[in-house]
């Protein structure tokens, strides 16, 4: 797939002005998504992954929120940040829509499900309410809700968690968006329901050739659905690349540590998991060097002093880490690759997990 990217984010910087000071939530994030592709943004809470997605939807508002000058979000070559209100409205919901984590909070409890879907259709398409209602029923059916004719006149509280998430997906895809942002769509759901919802998102992507930005903290979900992965830490993308590169050839100590902290089913029981010492830095006064340096096992002097530049590997795999600088002694690099072998070997070693 060597087509033009549908959405391009360049050097996105978002800050929030609070009583304690300016929180630099997103500090220079760049990535792109093509049609029919799933980009997973993975990171821990507070790393700026949700703020990034909200900025794309123009949901970062003043006076507290500020998108810094020089940030660009290009949709088909147009900068969303420079659009006027009317254009933004057409983009949001029409071209690009979002599924939120908590469906119960995101749906209006006092409105019937049907009305919430119709609201979106009427907003963006010039059709009558009656036609819109018919369309809403079809949408509910498309997302796998049984008895859509009856369900359309029910309130969110009458739906189960998985059903609510389906209803929210129906609202999101109502206007055939080209981009779908899913902000932790399955975090609040049980595994069996999670599998259903991920399957639904994947089939929608294939049928409608939608670009999906999947925001999550679960490497399992990423492995099952993403094409590309961007790993975020303290407001920056510290590593990005194709799914297989990130899983089998991680180049950043943080990515490696995250992979090592998820227990694998084939690991021996009660073996100690790899942990990351400490906690993420305070983004009111972010460190001047690499943000991960204080928690990193391979930290060198330079890491504390200067921000690392981007190193490129094959297949659009980038990372921001001093380890790949030419002047770094081989012994330090070897330490990293030796440790990496332990974790990635463990993954490659066993492939026999329930065959049928």
């Amino acid at each position: 797939m060597s087509q033009e990217p549908l959405l391009k984010v360049e050097d996105l910087k978002v800050s929030f002005h609070t009583y304690a000071g300016e929180v630099q939530a997103v500090r220079g994030v760049s990535f792109d998504v093509k049609a029919g592709e799933v980009l997973a943004i993975i990171g821990e809470s507070g790393c700026g992954k949700s703020v990034t997605s909200r900025a794309i939807m123009s949901l970062v508002r003043g006076p507290q929120g500020e998108i810094k000058k020089g940030s660009k979000i290009l949709y088909e070559e147009n900068n969303i940040l420079e659009m006027n209100k009317k254009e933004q409205r057409a983009f949001r919901g029409g071209e690009c829509s979002m599924i939120f984590q908590d469906a119960l909070v995101s749906l209006n409890p006092t409105m019937k499900i049907g009305k919430q879907i119709i609201e979106n259709i009427v907003q963006h398409k010039k059709i009558s309410k009656k036609e819109a209602r018919q369309e809403a029923i079809e949408l509910l059916e498309a997302v796998g809700i049984p008895n859509p004719e009856k369900r359309i006149d029910q309130y969110p509280f009458e739906f189960s968690g998985g059903m609510r998430q389906r209803a929210m997906i129906a609202i999101a895809i109502a206007c055939n968006p080209k981009i779908l942002i899913a902000d932790e769509p399955t975090t609040a759901l049980d595994v069996t329901i999670q599998a259903q919802i991920m399957e639904l998102i994947k089939s929608l992507k294939e049928k409608r050739n939608t670009a999906v930005i999947l925001i999550t903290h679960d490497f399992g979900v990423v492995a099952g659905s993403a094409n590309k992965v961007a790993v975020m830490y303290a407001g920056q993308v510290i590593e990005s690349g194709s799914r297989d590169e990130i899983f089998y050839n991680p180049q950043h100590p943080y990515t490696l540590a995250l992979l090592g902290s998820v227990p694998k089913l084939e690991w021996a029981n009660k073996q100690l998991l790899q942990t990351i010492k400490g906690t993420p830095p305070d983004l009111i006064s972010p460190p001047k060097g690499c943000a991960f340096a204080k928690r990193c096992n391979y930290c060198m002097n330079i890491c504390l002093e200067e921000m690392p530049g981007t190193t490129d590997f094959e297949d659009g795999h980038h990372t921001r880490c001093w380890l790949h600088d030419q002047e770094v002694p081989e012994s330090v690099k070897k330490m990293f690759y030796d440790d990496r072998k332990i974790i990635t070997d463990n993954e490659n070693g066993v492939t026999a997990v329930e065959g049928e």
């Binding site: 595994v191 399957e199 902290s261 998991l273 790899q274």
Partner: protein, 321 residues
């Protein structure tokens, strides 16, 4: 009950009255044992009754029927001194560290409360030393003792919750989703800590969670619950490699695995629909509505939990020969 069992649950039932005629059978005839020093994992989807089961086992809820024996004593019949001794030996780590710690108490007060009640320290100084030691044990330091809960992150709060539970030198801890609310890297820290303490202090855990990979990692044996009943119970390795019950099979196949090669090649067993309501459940196997192997028999008789292989219990007519 063999001599190694620390806890025995016999036909435990916990029903809640909801409305005039409706009965919610949160725990419906559950039996299991826990050996001293082992971890029993209790997994299931939300609403399956795993938390209610755990809470009834430690005596937080009164049982509707059935008995729980802790070291041979019926938990629900304890009174006075014996009850106090039981409360000291059995502790709970709660799911939500934001909601389970009192915001108006300092960390020292939270941890020290149990020490005072059970008179585990003779002097004030000894108590303070104990608190400082506990804080260090869970990876905090003694400067944290005079702070309030709102000053801590989620991971730190869970550490305080663990220190609080450990303060009274318990033998048995019911961990109710202790790591579900935390970030991945913090989950690993807390899981390691629980494993380490178990080995050092010879603790027994009842570990309730829905993160199956983590449960498998921590537990020796696992019980799978569905709508108030245990459908399968086995060694954690065996359960993951060779699940018998159709529900366990589906549950295992739904776990996302952080390995693209495995994810691309595996076939998912998709369960249709949601967990049905536990209010006024129809007769027969509770899973039959979603089961792909359901037979006629499943609609009328509820299967009993039977030992199919040594140590491997299943409640399913397929294995009931």
């Amino acid at each position: 009950m063999s001599s190694h069992d620390i806890l025995e649950v016999k036909h435990l039932k916990k029903y809640f009255n909801v409305g005039k005629h409706d009965l919610l059978k949160a725990v419906d005839d559950v039996s299991f044992t826990i050996k001293e020093g082992e971890t029993l994992g209790l997994v299931g989807e939300s609403g399956c009754g795993k938390t209610t089961c755990g809470r009834t086992v430690v005596g937080m809820y009164r049982a509707t029927d059935g008995e729980v024996y802790y070291k041979g004593q019926n938990v629900h019949k304890l009174k006075g001194k014996e009850k106090k001794a039981f409360n000291k030996e059995v502790q709970i780590i709660f799911q939500d560290p934001y909601a389970s710690l009192d915001p108006r108490m300092t960390v020292a007060e939270i941890i020290g409360e149990g020490i005072e009640i059970h008179e585990l320290a003779k002097t004030k100084q000894e108590k303070e030393e104990k608190i400082a030691h506990l804080l260090e044990l869970v990876g905090l330091n003694k400067e944290h003792a005079n702070r309030f809960i709102h000053e801590f992150s989620g991971g730190q709060r869970q550490r305080i919750g663990i220190a609080r539970a450990l303060a009274v030198e318990p033998k048995f801890i019911m961990c109710d989703e202790p790591i579900s609310a935390l970030d991945v890297s913090i989950q690993a820290q807390i899981a390691n800590m629980l494993i380490k303490f178990q080995q050092e202090m010879k603790l027994t855990y009842l570990f309730i969670a829905h993160d199956l990979a983590m449960v498998k990692h921590i537990s020796d044996r696992i019980a799978v619950m569905y709508l108030g009943s245990i459908v399968e119970l086995a060694d954690s390795e065996v359960l993951y490699r060779h699940p018998f019950h159709p529900y366990t099979e589906a549950l295992m196949s739904a776990i996302p695995i952080a390995d693209p090669k495995i994810e691309d090649s595996r076939q998912r067993i998709m369960l249709e629909g949601d967990v049905p309501s536990p209010i006024n459940t129809p007769p027969g196997c509770k899973f039959q509505g979603r089961c792909r192997k359901a037979m006629d028999q499943c609609k009328c008789d509820a299967p009993e939990l039977k030992e199919v292989e040594p140590g491997h219990f299943v409640a399913c007519h397929l294995y009931n020969k």
